[in-house]
Subunit: 198 residues, 2 copies
DNA sequence: ATGATTAATGAACACCCGTTCAAAAGCAAT
DNA sequence: ATTGCTTTTGAACGGGTGTTCATTAATCAT
C-alpha cells in the first residue's frame, strides 16, 4: 500500500485534466471574470461542487494555468550559450513564434488575466516572465558586446522584440495566407535588421 | 450645514463626463466584467440607477469609450501624402507612441475588452482599428513602391510595427529611466532598420 | 460480499448582478 | 408660491456568484 499508486476509486485522473482544459478554453474565450465555476462544471459534465476536488478556488485554477504555461516556456527556451549570438537570436525568434502559435489560449490568458491574480500570485507570474525576457536580453547583450549587434538599449530591444513576436498570435491562423514557416522567416528578417546585424 | 450633501437636479452636464471617466478608470484597473454598475456609481457619488440617465446599458459605456478613443486616434493620425515615405513613417512612429502614452487606460481597454462587445459593436471597433492600420500600411506601400523601403509583406510589417510600438505602454512610466523623447528615438531606430530604410 | 476510500451530488449560504421605475428632490421661470 | 422639467433616490426584480458540506454513489482491495 505504501508504494501503491493511488488507483483507488476514482476517475479523478480523468476529471482533473478536464477541469483545467475546460477552464483554459472558457477563460480564453469569455475572460476569467465572465466565466462561472458552474459554467466550467457544465463543460466538464459535473456539478460545481465537484470542481473543488481539483482546485482550492477559482483563482488557483487561473494561476496554475499561467504557471504551468510559463514553466513549459522556460523549460523549452534553452539556447545554448556556446553558439554565436546571431544563431541564438534566430533560434529564439523561431522558438517564440512556434511555441506561442501552438498555445493561443494559454498565451492569451497569461497576458490578459494578470489583473485577476492576487498580488502574491501576480508576482510569481511576473518573475517567470522576467526570467524568459532575460534569456533574450542575454543574447542581445552578448551580441552587442561582440559587436555583432548594434543596440543602444538592450532592455528596450528585448521588450520590443517580444511584443512584436507575440503580436503574431493576434492575427495568425493556421491555414491562412501564410504558413508558419513564412511567418518565421519574415519576422526573423525584421528582427535581424532591428538589431543591426549584418 | 457646513458640508452640503450631494443634491438632486441639474447636474447632468457634470455627471455625464464623470460617469465615463469613472467607468474608464475602473474598467482599465479591474476589467470590464469585474466592475459593477454600483461600483461606477459609487465612484461618481450617485446611486446605480442614476447611471441610466447617461447610458442605456453597461456595454454601451464600454463601447463608447472605445469608439471615442479610436475616433480621436483617427482624427489625429493624419500624415500628409505629400511628404516622402520615410518622413511619414517617422511621423507615424512618433505620433503612435505619444498618443498611446497619453492614454494608457483607453488603450488598455480598447485592446483587452473586445470580448465584451456584442458582434455588431465589435465589428465597428474593428473597422476603426483597421482604418488606423491602413494609414500605416499606405506609408509602407508607398515607400516600398518608391524603393525607399525593403519590405517583403506590408501587411505583416504593419502589424509587427504596431505591436512593437503599442508594447511601449506595458512598461513605459513617465519619470522612469527613459524620457519619452528617448523612447521615440530608439523605436524610430528600430522601425527604420526593420523596414530596411537607408 | 465487505469495508475503506474517493468522487460527485444537490442543496444551502450570504451576497452581488444589471436594470427598472414610482416617488422624491432639486432647479428655473413664471 | 406654483408649475414644469430634470435628475436622483431607493427599493425591488429575477437571477447569478464562489464556496461549503452532509449525503449518496462509485470504485477498488481484501
Amino acid at each position: 500500500m505504501l508504494f501503491m499508486a493511488r488507483t483507488t476509486g476514482s476517475h479523478a485522473g480523468i476529471t482533473g485534466p478536464r477541469v483545467r482544459q475546460a477552464a483554459l478554453r472558457l477563460f480564453a474565450q469569455k475572460g476569467y471574470a465572465a466565466v462561472s465555476m458552474r459554467a466550467i462544471a457544465a463543460e466538464v459534465g459535473v456539478q460545481a461542487g465537484a470542481l473543488y476536488n481539483y482546485t482550492p478556488d477559482k483563482e488557483s485554477l487561473l494561476f496554475d494555468l499561467m504557471r504551468v504555461h510559463l514553466e513549459e516556456l522556460l523549460a523549452q527556451a534553452d539556447f545554448g550559450a556556446e553558439a554565436d549570438p546571431l544563431t541564438r537570436l534566430r533560434q529564439f525568434v523561431e522558438f517564440h513564434i512556434r511555441f506561442h502559435a501552438d498555445r493561443p489560449d494559454e498565451v492569451f490568458i497569461a497576458y490578459m488575466e494578470l489583473r485577476n491574480l492576487s498580488p502574491e500570485n501576480f508576482a510569481q507570474i511576473e518573475a517567470l516572465r522576467r526570467r524568459y525576457e532575460d534569456r533574450l536580453e542575454t543574447i542581445l547583450r552578448d551580441g552587442a558586446k561582440q559587436g555583432v549587434f548594434a543596440i543602444e538599449d538592450t532592455k528596450i530591444m528585448t521588450l520590443a522584440i517580444i511584443a512584436m513576436l507575440t503580436g503574431v498570435n493576434t492575427w495568425f491562423r493556421s491555414g491562412g495566407r501564410l504558413s508558419l514557416d513564412q511567418v518565421v522567416a519574415q519576422y526573423w528578417d525584421m528582427v535581424r535588421r532591428a538589431v543591426g546585424a549584418e
